[in-house]
Symmetry: C2
Subunit: 428 residues, 2 copies
């Protein structure tokens, strides 16, 4: 539902928020946790606006928030946003409305709040919540098809894919904030023609272009989440790179799925874009003739897809020229945020505020929309050529991988996700 906070004609008194292409205009207002780069200042919650961060602890101390938004503003200023996430949509919305009004051109509090701005260029970020559990899904049919064609050509799309959002549990401890180094993992692999496996640095280090979803209010163990109410359990979205060692994955995954191939690092972007900010970018679910009707617990006339543009760029070592590897949209995902939440809780599994869901690699229907190197290079059979003329089947040491995400639509303000960056260090 759109409200005054989505009005594209609104401008902020923070001038940089109006710069064309800015990820963080007044209509976005994403939440994160920051402090001064390299300092030992306490971590605290903030909201991105233009090239600055509104320090919510400082703003709250100014007494600028309304009674309706006060407790959310306090929770949003903490070093972990779990308490904010637990409050639910009414509180999030009240805070968003206050922030929109406070940061709007002509706001009488502008002078007071200018002192609460902190430059993003001088900030470092933390994982914005204590992540109790991290679950990664497999929602893109194009990723499933592309990967399936490589590994089981006779049966590329598995029979369960269009019936349920396939998922698996990931590792919460190794979720790292954008900018954290990614050390090339060691692991067990077996070459296709080898009798025995070996242990050493992965030769098939891949990225995965995903979105992350932070869970809001949870559900008690033994209860489910109704599909129609599922989005009320989603606080917001970020970019997520589920780094993967494909050779490790191939050897270890039978019969229990990926494990060491994925749990060494998962990178996320620092800013969480609320579902409310994304409301103008809803589009119909992508459904094809022949797709089965969803089982009732996954069926809702209210569920829509989100048209979030996604890109992955590779910068070779030595700060060479970046090459765009992937360019797609989250609109192509067969399963949405609401589907993931309703399915996850359908057996009584308890979700908790701050839990993280990954959408799985996002790929689209056309060439160039593949969301990982496994697909792009056909597992190394067709290496890709970078802008500097070098080739890649998989990532090399020193490569920097950057994800971007944003929403644009005529008549709406641009809503950006910022970026999720990671550089590959040589194996230890």
């Amino acid at each position: 539902m759109l409200n005054e906070t989505h009005d594209p004609s609104l401008h902020s008194w923070v001038a940089s928020a109006q710069v064309p292409g800015c990820d963080f205009p007044l209509q976005n207002l994403p939440h994160g946790v920051f402090r001064r780069q390299g300092s030992s200042e306490p971590w605290r919650g903030g909201v991105a606006i233009g090239d600055a961060i509104l320090d919510l602890a400082a703003a709250h101390a100014q007494g600028v928030f309304s009674a309706a938004a006060d407790s959310a503003a306090q929770a949003a200023s903490a070093a972990s946003l779990n308490r904010l996430m637990a409050l639910g949509p009414a509180a999030w919305s009240a805070l968003r409305l206050d922030l929109s009004r406070l940061l709007r051109e002509g706001a009488p509090q502008a002078l007071q709040l200018r002192a609460c701005l902190f430059p993003q260029a001088q900030a470092e970020y933390a994982v914005p919540a204590r992540i109790g559990d991290y679950t990664d899904f497999f929602t893109s049919q194009y990723h499933a098809l592309n990967a399936g064609r490589i590994f089981q050509p006779q049966n590329a799309l598995l029979p369960n894919f269009k019936w349920l959002p396939i998922g698996y549990h990931g590792r919460a401890s190794s979720v790292a904030i954008s900018g954290s180094a990614v050390r090339r993992p060691q692991g067990q692999t077996r070459a296709p023609d080898a009798a025995t496996p070996q242990f050493g640095p992965t030769q098939k280090l891949d990225y995965e272009l995903e979105l992350g979803v932070f869970v809001g209010p949870g559900n008690p163990r033994g209860t489910a989440i109704d599909i129609d109410a599922a989005e009320q359990h989603a606080f917001g979205l970020c970019l997520l790179n589920d780094w993967s060692a494909r050779d490790v994955q191939a050897w270890e995954s039978m019969p229990l799925g990926p494990f060491m191939a994925k749990n060494f690092t998962t990178s996320i972007s620092p800013w969480i874009i609320t579902l409310e900010a994304l409301a103008p970018f809803r589009v119909p679910l992508p459904r094809e003739a022949g797709d089965p009707a969803a089982l009732p617990y996954l069926q809702s006339t209210q569920v829509q897809a989100l048209d979030i543009q996604l890109e992955a760029w590779l910068t070779p070592p030595g700060a060479g020229q970046a090459t765009r590897l992937s360019r797609t949209s989250y609109r192509h995902a067969h399963w949405t945020v609401a589907h993931m939440l309703a399915h996850h809780a359908s057996n009584g599994c308890n979700l908790q505020p701050g839990d993280l869901l990954g959408t799985g690699t996002q790929s689209g229907p056309t060439n160039g929309e593949q969301g990982c190197l496994l697909e792009l290079s056909q597992d190394g059979r067709t290496p890709i050529i970078l802008a500097d003329g070098s080739q890649r089947s998989y990532l090399q040491d020193g490569d920097t991988l950057t994800l971007h995400g944003w929403c644009e639509r005529p008549g709406q303000a641009r809503i950006g996700f910022g970026s999720c960056v990671g550089s590959v260090l040589a194996a230890a």
Copy 2:
């Protein structure tokens, strides 16, 4: 290494600790978190002795601990044992020595400490740590073989099994303390002859007879754990029942492994038995002619198996006669605690104090040693007959499943695990 705390001739001034068959003699001293049943008392740490619990907060307040054990005693009295787990083996050992001396017959502090005892019969227990991540392994070759014969007879033991401890990430939020009800989960299943899946209560609810391992000191992301030092990262063991919905598992598991089939509830017993208490029960690794030599990162002359007796009992509704379903030993597991820890960290995945590892279902080489109903009933093809004459392929509503574990060896005190109990409630 054995020391004075293992001396089987030691008696406690808590008389019940000497009752034959007692799980908690003076040589055990397991840690847990408790309070008065049904109260809103604060949770606090304690140590089981006979039929009582030594309230460590109360004991600590008496000033009875030595300087060497004082900080461990304080950490062990908290509502979550994560801080104790982080301290490491030297601190755990110092605390164990103090406790052994304080609870020993003739201890001058006996009178003071008698006031710090709490009857187990009046206690309720909490999950004893904030579990950051829960990982379940697949360490029993007999379970792997038995399950493999049902699902892929031509290739019962997968080629990776003897090269690495296969594992997958589980759900931390739904780890529940023994005694918690287990609601039969709903889920998607597809009958073998059906064209489409359906959603409803699982028809194949199973137990899994496992041990849990609580992680002690962790490792920073990007670093590994040496196999020779791996056990120093293990605080202790408990019983674990990884409830499973086999029909859900069969439909959802391709290609990413079990997810909703497992994450609705995992039950653990309340007492954590330290590795030091288990030291007298080490036995050689079970290795057969033809087994491959471990890769160097999993190779150690120090690694041994643990001979822990394990049982599962089923009590039908109405408190009928219990039937023993499973009886085996952890000694048969191909992969040990040290192997799981060293493998888990071998790619730089960071483990943290309080993380939980499951050993996977424990089955042995002979009939009756199968650790779950999938194996025992051959996925329902050969239902088992209970003591009351009724049959089971899988668990029915009202069934109570109880796990027991203990160690016995001539010349050593019996070290018991207590029990891990769960009753099946009808689906919501």
